[in-house]
């Protein structure tokens, strides 16, 4: 027994020495039997990695199929729309072969190709689709296509005159410029539209008519309102979170339930109850009226200025619904927990001894708070602000219900283009811009505070 142990030992020692030998040189580390240490380590860890991957694989597949792929295809639509090029193959081919011709073509081949495309479109009932994309740039063009499509069989050479006879608009050079652009499925025009730019028939990009510009204003409004909402959530949430973090645990748990209570109620119910409370004949206005607020304002000669400022509406009551005020109030209420929770989780980890230490070192209460406590809550503040801001930027239901015309956000326009106008490409372009804005915010946050410092709970 003792002998074998000794023999084993000597063998082991020899192997260990062999392993050590190359390490004294400059070569890579090896294991006892001479394989490189890195390879051996990789082999040992591979199985654990494979097992871990198999565990997450179902979720990964689920996310890929149901989330990343649809979003990817949606975003692809923002730069790719083949409704014209796919339905007008002959004309698209002519555009490809004659890149130099601008305006209304004299070439009869172009008109013949258009007539051929329209005949097929009539048979397959796709004339409307063919006109859809042209209609985005030249409103009213869709009817031109459907109308001409119906008569496609009667069109005879010379086609140009025949088309002109059906509708004068066919000899509009703008139409031909738009059709040329439509002949390629890849386009940036939806992004131009999304920021109130338009591509002229000659290809130059200019701002759209001020009366038709909507998106830029609403983007700016969305960002400003979201920042305002995040700021208000911070101001309201910070003291609450501080109280939650400092009261005894049994009270803290109860209060935390109160903070989370809104999550258990339907978002629609919560939003609707704000309408009940804040509308001009609502509870708050009735209460103010009963308390004599409006007569007081009249006595103080503040009623008329308030009415001029739009604070008091035509009904003589405070306007708190179906405008920006409504959006802000309801969204602050809904998003407040997303501010309180990260703040609370950070504040809970700050022991009271820090402020006590600052006080014992001679700092007054405000100074101890500002110099010692507050800097330590910054990861929570950053997380809360970022979370609320990102949620607010993409918020849909609440502004749709209480926002009125002045309180709608960009997501309401995206929904409009998906549900009502069926311009999915524009909706995708708007969404992509929103996504980029959020990513920029994220990047800024990382630069200023650092993502590693973020604490979400």
């Amino acid at each position: 027994m003792a002998d074998t142990t000794a023999a084993d030992n000597s063998q082991y020692k020899a192997a260990a020495l062999a392993a050590l030998a190359p390490q004294t040189g400059k070569g890579p580390l090896t294991t006892a039997d001479g394989t490189p240490l890195k390879a051996a380590l990789g082999k040992a860890q591979r199985q654990a990695r494979i097992r871990a991957f198999i565990l997450v694989a179902p979720l990964l597949a689920f996310i890929l199929i149901t989330f990343i792929a649809p979003i990817g295809s949606m975003l692809f639509r923002s730069v790719n729309n083949d409704s014209f090029s796919a339905n007008a193959p002959a004309l698209s081919q002519w555009f490809d072969q004659n890149p130099g011709i601008v305006g209304v073509p004299e070439d009869e081949a172009a008109w013949a190709a258009l007539a051929a495309d329209l005949r097929i479109a009539k048979k397959e009932r796709t004339a409307g689709q063919m006109g859809t994309r042209i209609n985005y740039d030249l409103p009213g063009s869709r009817s031109l296509f459907t109308k001409t499509g119906r008569r496609a069989d009667k069109l005879e050479a010379p086609f140009k005159e025949a088309f002109e006879k059906v509708d004068k608009r066919w000899v509009d050079p703008d139409l031909w410029g738009v059709m040329r652009r439509g002949s390629s499925p890849n386009t940036a025009s939806f992004y131009y539209s999304a920021v109130d730019l338009t591509q002229q028939p000659d290809g130059s990009v200019v701002a759209v008519d001020e009366k038709r510009a909507v998106y830029k204003d609403i983007f700016v409004r969305t960002l400003i309102l979201s920042a305002l909402i995040a700021g208000l959530c911070f101001l309201l949430g910070f003291p609450v979170a501080h109280m939650l973090a400092t009261v005894p645990t049994r009270y803290a748990n109860l209060l935390l339930i109160l903070v989370l209570l809104p999550f258990w109620t339907s978002l629609l119910v919560r939003t609707t109850s704000w309408i009940v409370l804040l509308q001009s004949q609502g509870v708050v206005n009735d209460a103010l009226d009963a308390l004599g607020f409006f007569t007081l304002m009249q006595k103080l000669a503040l009623f008329d200025p308030m009415q001029q400022a739009g604070i008091i509406g035509s009904t003589g009551r405070l306007e708190m619904m179906f405008n920006q005020a409504g959006t802000i109030i309801a969204m602050v209420h809904i998003l407040l927990p997303f501010m309180i929770l990260p703040l609370f989780s950070v504040m809970k980890t700050i022991p009271p001894s820090y402020v006590r230490a600052a006080r014992s070192l001679g700092a007054s209460q405000p100074r101890a708070f500002w110099k010692v406590y507050f800097p330590q809550t910054i990861p929570g503040i950053g997380a809360g602000l970022l979370l609320v801001f990102i949620l607010a930027v993409g918020y849909y239901i609440t502004p749709a219900l209480v926002g009125g015309a002045k309180g709608t956000l960009i997501s309401n326009l995206i929904a409009f283009h998906i549900e009502k106008s069926f311009n999915w490409s524009l909706a995708a372009a708007l969404s992509a811009i929103l996504l980029v804005i959020v990513l920029i915010m994220y990047w800024l946050y990382d630069r200023i505070i650092g993502i590693d410092n973020m604490k979400l709970g």
Partner: protein
């Protein structure tokens, strides 16, 4: 209330504290601490020692009574105006500041100019032997280094009183012992008054000028370390400080402060009468393990009993012997590991003995 009759630097005068209005955490605390003393408040958790310290620091108001600092009542002085340096249990170094910024904090809030503050910070760091750590964050320091920075920060603004709330609790044993000496030396060099709270009696014995043993909101005994160990005034102190053998019995008679006691198993011994008054009282004898002799020579001791050796533990410098003596199966004897010590065998019955002067008859403690 006048304070002229006392030259105490810190003075607790009939201080009481209750958190809930039903129980007193600190019951009638009276304590005078002269300037320059290192006083330790020692006691188990919940004994009121930390609460007393927090009242002195100003973080908890006293429910009743007055606390004086340098002759002035400080009951209504906020903590930042008391000028007391404090070292917290987990150091409470501000994590978002560097070591130098941490040290400069008390100087900045006092409006000291930058050059002077920098010089003071540098000196403080040199005092705790960490001059190279000025630009580090607390999280980058080891536990012992953080501890030193915390001490330096409490001292940097030259307070005359330093409070320490279990400052060494988070350190490992070796480091703790080293820090004990360092803090003791800092105290000796600077001559500041230190009030130190701990539940570790070895720490208290090592560092203190005087120790106040707290239990149940009351100071059980306030003495120097050697006095506390060798002359405990009640059974709680005897049990709490150091290792103690207790034997229960009844007092036969008390004469010239020497009591004759009948132990529970009927054997008679004599002991120094401390916490007993009358014959017939129940009493608990306190006897330190190193004062017991095994197989004593004739005339060496006053009391001789027999005991059975239950267990022997070899500890190098001494042999810890657990015996069954007079019905107490946990009677510990420390036998010095000298060349001629008697051979000990588990299961043997041997004679054990001690001098009456080494055995104290204290208040009865039900076992």
């Amino acid at each position: 209330m006048s304070n002229s009759e006392s030259d105490a630097y810190v003075r607790f005068d009939h201080v009481q504290k209750s958190y809930d209005g039903e129980t007193l955490v600190v019951k009638d605390l009276n304590l005078d601490i002269p300037e320059g003393e290192f006083l330790t408040m020692l006691g188990p958790s919940g004994s009121g020692k930390t609460t007393s310290l927090m009242m002195l620091a100003g973080f908890e108001p006293a429910t009743h009574g007055e606390i004086y600092l340098g002759g002035e009542s400080i009951n209504n002085v906020p903590p930042n105006k008391r000028g007391i340096g404090m070292v917290f249990q987990n150091y409470a170094l501000f994590p978002h500041m560097t070591v130098a910024e941490n040290l400069a904090f008390p100087l900045n809030v006092r409006g000291m100019n930058k050059v002077e503050a920098e010089a003071k910070v540098k000196r403080a760091l040199e005092m705790v032997e960490l001059p190279a750590m000025a630009d580090r964050r607390p999280a980058q320091l080891s536990g012992g280094q953080q501890q030193r920075v915390a001490v330096a920060r409490a001292l940097v603004f030259d307070p005359k009183l330093i409070l320490m709330d279990e400052p060494l609790g988070a350190l490992d044993k070796q480091l703790r012992e080293q820090m004990q000496y360092e803090i003791k030396h800092i105290h000796e060099n600077l001559g500041v008054t230190v009030v130190y709270v701990t539940h570790d009696q070895a720490e208290a014995l090592t560092m203190s000028d005087r120790i106040a043993v707290f239990e149940d909101g009351v100071i059980q005994q306030l003495s120097t370390p050697d006095d506390l160990y060798e002359r405990p005034m009640n059974s709680f102190v005897a049990q709490f400080i150091g290792e103690n053998n207790k034997l229960n019995g009844r007092v036969n008679q008390v004469k010239d402060s020497v009591a004759t006691i009948t132990l529970d198993d009927g054997q008679k011994v004599s002991a120094e009468a401390v916490g007993i008054d009358n014959a017939g009282d129940l009493t608990t004898l306190s006897l330190r393990p190193e004062r017991v002799e095994i197989e004593p020579d004739d005339g060496q001791v006053d009391n001789i009993l027999s005991g059975r050796i239950e267990e022997l533990i070899y500890l190098g410098d001494h042999i810890r012997t657990r015996m069954n003596v007079a019905g107490n199966p946990d009677f510990i004897v420390k036998v010095p590991n000298s060349a001629d010590h008697k051979p000990l065998v588990e299961g043997d019955t041997v004679r054990v003995g001690w001098k009456s002067a080494d055995c104290r008859a204290l208040d009865h403690l039900a076992s």
